[in-house]
Amino acid sequence: MGNIFTSVLRKTISPEEPMKPSKRTGGTNVLGMAVLFAFTVYFLLPLYWLIISSTKTTNDLFSGNGLWFSGQFQFFQNLQGLFSYDGGIFISWFINTFLYAIGSAVISTLIAAMAGYALAKFKFYGKNTIFSIVLGSLLVPTTALSLPLYLLMAKAGLTNTYWAVLLPSFVSPFGVYLARVYSVSSIPDEMLDAARVDGAGEFRVFFRIALAALTPSLITIFLFQFVAVWNNYFLPLVMLSNQNLFPLTVGLQSWNAITTSVSGQGMLYSYIIMGSLISVLPLIIGFLFLQRYWRAGIVSGSIK
């Protein structure tokens, strides 16, 4: 079973980059292009609506054409309102999200790199068992972990702290898997042996030689964990009740709950919309600039 899984993953996420001559022959597939354009509209519509809506007053949201600007351009008022509402709590949420994502991604990438490197470059007792457990854990629904994790954290008195979100996010079995695959392919044994012959200790070999060779792959592992934590909702929802510690997802959802309740009467709609826009922008911008690392990660990255 494990082998099948590995082979499936390996075929999908092999980091080798087969080059392929790109030939432009034949005409343009008009029907295919039309279908792709139609779906481009579908995939971008919610974002378009979000941008348009971020310029409106709450009243204008509920009247007039949802797909076009209203008479009043309220973008900057909404932005200012969002940042000042409830003592600027949104800014705390933004900073928290950033801290959770950066902290988790840095630590989990480093420890995944160490574990993946050991699994790829050393022979030792229990190696296959450890790797099988790592692979098997990819199948465990992580939200099913979050509830018991909450109970354990409560026993340790860690709920409602930054650690409650950070500690579980340090563990990335997928990162270990990727690090192992990349170590096999991008760290030549000769390089390691040469360093050892020169008298470098194992840690020096790892930190000076292996990490350098792995750097592009480490960025990929880092990005995956960064996005996973930035987008996480269930774990912080379960762990945190102090709203000063919330990440954006939990914070905006708490506003949504207030706003849609009977007494809320839609008071926060324009802030939620502006907040959503602000919280999706960093990742979208990051995506545009770091495209090649995404492709290298999900894929065999042969895209030009």
Partner: protein, 310 residues
């Protein structure tokens, strides 16, 4: 003296050997310890705490006590109609949504792989962007696009005379959720399949062309079979994701009454733990959900490996 130094020497050698042998374990240790604490321990603890129940004394005068009750919770969860309804609902969801999503992803990947398509970069980015959006924000956004008071889409249908059109009705809401999930993950799966397509050696197409195959036959007999493992992998993660759905129902329940507190297994477990404070029962639900996930994902691997004859 001689003897002494000799022992020290061999001891040193031995210590050195042990050190060298232990190096890989030292490298794995940071991950290993955290993995045990935050991955294995919760699984164990979920099972352990599912073995207890909170007993209230008859008159409610003394504090409730937690007592060992064997497999009572697991048994109760195993026979809980609400759990089965939520699981069944997600299976129905998965049977419809996963093939549609993967079908679209494969279709787009094949289109992007074909030489007669321009603007590939634009399409790839546009389709992949939803993956950058947190699931709960996506659910919020689509919630607004489903909300009759806000939505330009609903307004459009009402304007053309379809007055009863409602994304959030009891029958429609499951498929409105399916739309959110499809929107979020189609591009991601498309990239996985597309990359597998790009890895196919070009000579295979040349050979097929010489043999007189057209584009459709090349896709049917060469491309699709070769990217099948990538599709299986996407299917596997999609099934795991489907059984865990939480963001969408927990967001949409604020704007519609069609979503009950046990709409999906995860929402049910969350409600049991944090709304009705039945922690032990919630733990039992989490254990059952994990087992169900294992059964379905291994089932998928079984079926697909038998078919591809690996």
């Amino acid at each position: 003296m001689m003897l002494g130094s000799k022992t020290t020497g061999s001891f040193r050698l031995k210590a050195g050997k042990i050190w060298i042998k232990s190096i890989p374990y030292v490298f794995i240790m940071p991950f290993g310890i955290l993995f045990l604490l935050f991955f294995i321990a919760p699984i164990m603890y979920a099972f352990y705490s599912s073995l207890f129940v909170v007993k209230h004394s008859g008159l409610g005068l003394s504090a409730p006590v937690t007592v060992f009750n064997g497999l009572f919770n697991l048994n109760q969860a195993f026979h809980d109609p609400l759990f089965y309804q939520s699981l069944g609902r997600m299976l129905l969801f998965g049977v419809v949504q996963v093939p549609i999503m993967l079908g679209l992803a494969l279709f787009f990947a094949l289109l992007l792989d074909s030489v007669t398509i321009r603007l590939k970069n634009l399409f790839r980015m546009a389709f992949f962007v939803p993956y950058a959006i947190p699931g709960v924000i996506a659910a919020l956004l689509w919630g607004y696009l489903y909300n009759p008071q806000l939505s330009p889409i609903v307004q459009f249908f009402h304007a053309i005379g379809w007055k009863s059109f409602d994304f959030l009705s009891q029958h429609a809401v499951l498929w409105s959720m399916a739309n959110i999930v499809t929107w979020e993950w189609t591009g991601y799966n498309m990239i996985i399949i597309y990359s597998a397509l790009q890895a196919i050696p070009h000579e295979l197409y040349e050979a097929a062309k010489i043999d007189g195959s057209n584009g459709f036959n090349i896709a049917r007999y060469i491309k699709i079979p070769l990217v099948a493992p990538a599709i299986v992998l996407s299917g596997l993660f999609s099934i795991i994701g489907t059984l865990q759905i939480f963001n969408e129902p927990s967001t949409l329940q604020y704007i519609t009454n069609s979503i009950t507190s046990s709409y999906t297994p995860n929402l049910y477990a969350y409600t049991a733990a944090f709304v009705t404070n039945q922690y032990n029962y919630a733990a039992a639900l989490a254990v059952l959900l994990a087992i169900a996930t294992f059964i379905f994902s291994f089932g998928l691997l079984r079926i697909t490996t038998r078919q591809t004859g690996e």
